[in-house]
Amino acid sequence: MKDIRQIRVRVNGAEHELAVETRRTLADMLRHDLGYTGTHLGCEHGICGACTVLVDSAPVRSCLVFGVQADGCDVRTVEGLADGEELSDLQQAFSDHHGLQCGFCTPGFLMLAEAYLAERQAAGAGEPTEAEIRELAASNLCRCTGYQGIVDAVLATARARYHSEGASGEGRAGGWHAGGSP
């Protein structure tokens, strides 16, 4: 017998109520029950990071989390990054710096970087170095780019958010602003 539970989950601001089998992964639930197919599965054992989504603002491998564990949670996927049809600053930076080729790993890198930048900002930490971004990027796998475009894109976004004039009232002295995400 299937063990099915009723859960409520918010995805990119939209409320969903659904019945989900307890063994179903969050990734499969998002992709196939709710239609958020932007989240990709690259290994299904927690290494490649392509399936990274944010659960209550924290990046998680959605292949290693059951859908029922997201009951009552706020989930954010790649579909939630843009403002309508307008790419976020991070998304635009990936294009500008050729941080994607086949695009399969891209949603995972975007969500990883989005969480990292938000966490750094929340902690009031300074502008990240290239070495820090490189270490962050090593969380996930990309087989196409050699990572340089990804590192450059995240670094450029971090710098722009940190130095954005007037965004945090601190002007040129540095400080974070929220970037292009809603």
Binding site: R31, L41, C43, C102, G103, T106, R143, V151
Partner: protein, 812 residues
């Protein structure tokens, strides 16, 4: 704000400009459409029951328990399907074909080979049920590698083989070689090996098949580089006409050669959809991808080379063995690695006398596909190590030995001992420039705060790679299905926008952007007005997909030719309307005008409108549309590069870190510098992985040991460093656009450059390696004075994949 596409200002055209990629937006928004994203009402999910044994007879298969699982709607064995199979053919006496059954019949030949397919509405249920397929196995002795396969009395992986040789051919044999070696002042004997590696696209294989009653057609959506060859494979295996099959490649999440062959699961799924008249989906999981798809690059080279006292090579003889696994992959066959290796081993060096024996050895391991580089990473490693060894013996600088042997400026086109004509390249210039850049930039390798005592080394690799093989070259391989040409259709619609169809099938290379740049230049429109349609066998003429660094030269060349015809049509229409000569009409900036008369400009969209909606106004020969179909089938063209790497080796831990990397490369006319740099960087990353990390392990018993990404290590950002790239541009005479192929070069040069850097670092210790990957444990063992080191040190998994160990000075 999105970055605007800007012209290559210097040339006043789109070719040469880093036009932002059209592909990016949908991917960044999470709106790419990959096979796994496709759903259909009533869709079933397939799961495969696979062999746990590397070699076994199958004496019975019982699917009743699987069928009794709730939610399961079907289960098929090979017998249920009528034992369909794929067969790849080479028309050579030295080749033995293999039948690769879609589902194994009475024998399995590698662990992971599928024996039954289970279908259920829920993929979880399908996987549960596949585990309930009950198979009676009678295990056989496994053949885990080249040595076991060639041993006297070895069991044959396929009946009727001798020495487990699927291919055994002498490509070249110069009978003067024994005399040359006897007289040569320096003779180098060496064995070089490269490990079996996985292409590892982030999206594994995937397909979804559905029967279309309206068109009476089997439609197969598949993650592939070669839609037409998948269609041919389906048609041949299932005995149906090709027009009864439509293959569609949606967005493809990486390929690297793994997806330029046809998978048996893809056809089995298609057959199930046809039989059940229901959509069927199969998404490969990573364990299947690592054990049951295709590998590559497991090769051994036994080489002898003679040099004179000045370091000039006098003769070269090589025996090349490729462990190709259990079957020949369709359509390229198991000969692709040995044929490539034998033909192209001399590379950029002038070899007076040459002998090459190539063998494809069957083993009880997953079959192999033409993974990125196809033998070129290995042959470059062999030649670059030989140059280093000769230099060390003679006390001459290793770069000077290369210079004395390489094809030099003024010698192009050069026809080598291998019968290959090399079109013009910048072999010498790229080496000179790389050497200069190394002197200027390869400093301060070790960041502050790292332990002292690191050993630092710099290594080089010089090479050329033949790209864009057309049938004039491919026909020499004598494949039953000889690839090479491609065909493009360029159409302008009534609004003046352009649709291009191609038989190539980009999957990350940005073809939607680069093809648009080429066509936009011809037609005088913006690349944003040019839409590429690819990956659909019902849309495009028969073509050969995307592999072998062929697409921009062959597919782009065909598009360029067709666009030139449409441009001529546009000029003729404009000439008629402007009462001018068509020779005087130029197309630029969205307008047609008489050259030198800006006031005469007619919008191209107006010409398109008239041709379609007012066609009666035009003379007969200009009516009825703006479109052209053209093909291109070049002999191939050589890109070249010089790579340089700097590594540090930690003598305490054996850790090897890549510190600096640079590439001076020449792929002729660069269509989009941003995209070319991305291809180079990505290729280098895979090559660095092959040099330092990657190997698919099998035990002596033939069991796969690399079943997860914890066991198979692909490089992360931390194992890599920025790649400094410089372009030289020697335009190709064999290319419509002057471009040369460049999809593989990064992968081809990196293993040799990194290996040479490791050996340079270890030079003070008198140690060198002739294999990849070089692992920390091997470095430690070699430094500790061990004679020979199995890969990965001790342990059950080390043996079968074990490469030759370190050489100590004086013994090698």
């Amino acid at each position: 704000m999105s970055r605007e596409a800007r012209l290559n200002a210097q040339a006043g055209r789109w070719v040469g400009a880093s036009v932002p990629r059209k592909e990016d937006r949908r991917m960044l928004l999470g709106r790419g459409r990959f096979v796994g994203d496709l759903t259909r009402a009533g869709m079933l999910h397939a799961a495969f029951a696979r062999s746990p044994f590397p070699a076994a007879e199958v004496t019975g298969i019982d699917t009743s328990a699987a069928l009794a699982t709730p939610g399961v709607t079907g289960a098929f064995t090979g017998a249920d399907l009528g034992h369909p199979y794929l067969i790849a053919m080479l028309e050579r006496d030295e080749f033995t074909p293999t039948r690769m059954p879609l589902l194994a019949g009475d024998q399995v030949r590698f662990a992971g080979e599928p024996v039954a397919m289970v279908l259920a509405a829920d993929p979880y249920a399908a996987q549960d049920a596949a585990e309930l397929v009950d198979v009676d196995w009678r295990p056989l002795d496994a053949i885990p590698g080249i040595e076991a396969a060639q041993a006297v009395g070895a069991r044959q992986v396929h009946d009727g083989l001798d020495g487990n040789r699927l291919v055994d051919l002498t490509m070249f044999d110069d009978l003067t070689l024994p005399g040359i070696f006897a007289a040569a002042p320096v003779v180098i004997d060496a064995v070089f090996r490269s490990a079996r590696v996985a292409a590892l696209p982030l999206e594994g294989r995937a397909c979804m098949a559905e029967w279309d009653d309206r068109d009476e057609q089997l439609v197969l959506h598949v993650s592939t580089q070669v839609p037409h060859q998948v269609r041919s494979g389906v048609a041949q295996a299932l005995g149906i006409p090709e027009q009864g099959v439509r293959v569609i490649a949606p967005d493809v999440g990486g390929g690297f050669g793994l997806k330029c062959v046809v998978g048996r699961e893809e056809i089995a799924v298609a057959d199930a959809a046809r039989r059940l008249r229901r959509p069927v989906s199969w998404i490969e999981d990573r364990e299947e991808n690592l054990t049951a798809s295709f590998h590559g690059h497991e090769q051994r080279y036994q080489v002898r080379a003679g040099f004179d006292r000045d370091g000039r090579i006098l003769g070269l003889a090589a025996e090349i063995d490729c462990d190709v696994g259990a079957y020949s992959a369709f359509p390229f066959t198991s000969a692709v690695e040995p044929l490539m290796a034998c033909t192209e081993l001399p590379g950029i060096y002038k070899i007076p006398a040459y002998r090459a024996l190539g063998r494809a050895i069957a083993t009880n391991k997953a079959p192999t596909a033409p993974y990125r580089g196809v033998s070129r990473p290995q042959i470059v490693l062999v030649m670059e190590r030989l140059m280093e060894k000769a230099a060390a013996e003679l006390g001459i600088g290793a770069l000077d030995v290369r210079r004395r042997n390489m094809i030099s400026p003024g010698e192009f086109p050069y026809t080598g001992v291998n019968g290959i004509s090399y079109d013009e390249g910048s072999y010498r210039e790229s080496l000179d420039l790389a050497e200069r850049q190394v002197k200027e930039t390869f400093r301060n390798a070790t960041p502050a705060g790292e332990p002292g005592g690191l050993m630092t080394g710099v290594g080089y690799a010089c090479f050329s790679e033949r790209t864009a093989y057309g049938t004039p070259t491919m026909s020499q391989r004598r494949m039953a299905m000889t690839p090479g040409y491609d065909t493009a259709l360029v159409r302008m619609d009534p609004s003046g926008e352009v649709i291009v169809t191609t038989g190539t099938c980009g999957h990350g290379q940005g073809h939607e952007t680069t093809f648009a740049q080429i066509v936009a230049d011809r037609l005088g429109v913006h690349p944003g007005q040019v839409r590429l349609r690819q990956g659909d066998t019902d849309l495009a003429s028969y073509g050969w997909g995307t592999w072998g660094s062929r697409s921009i030269v062959i597919g782009g060349g065909a598009a360029d030719r067709a666009a030139a015809v449409v441009a001529r049509q546009l000029r003729q229409v404009a000439a008629h309307l402007l009462e001018a000569s068509s020779d005087d009409i130029e197309l630029a900036g969205g307008s047609a005008r008489v050259r030198g008369d800006a006031g005469s400009a007619l919008p191209i969209s107006e010409l398109a409108r008239i041709v379609h909606f007012q066609t009666h106004r035009l003379p007969e020969e200009l009516r009825y549309g703006l479109e052209a179909r053209s093909s291109f089938d070049p002999p191939g063209t050589f890109s070249n590069a010089c790579h340089a790497a700097m590594v540090t080796v930690d003598p305490g831990t054996g850790e090897i870190r890549l510190r600096r990397y640079l590439v001076v490369e020449d792929c002729g006319v660069v269509i989009n510098p941003m995209i070319v740099d991305g291809q180079v960087s990505g290729g280098v990353a895979q090559g660095v992985g092959a040099a330092l990390l990657e190997r698919v392990r099998y035990g002596e018993d033939g069991q796969p040991g690399s079943t997860t990404l914890m066991d198979y290590l692909a490089p992360t950002a931390m194992e890599l460093c920025p790649v400094q790239i410089t372009h030289l541009e020697t335009a190709s005479q064999f290319s419509e656009t002057g471009a040369k192929g460049m999809g593989e070069g990064g992968m081809i040069g990196a293993p040799a450059a990194v290996l040479n850097a490791i050996n340079d670092a270890l030079r003070p210790a008198g140690i060198s390696f002739d294999h990849v990957p070089v692992l920390p444990a091997e470095v430690c063992a070699a430094l500790a004075g061990g004679d020979a080191v199995a890969m990965g040190g001790a342990g059950a998994m080390g043996g079968a994949s074990g490469l030759s160990g370190a050489h100590r000075r004086g013994s090698a």
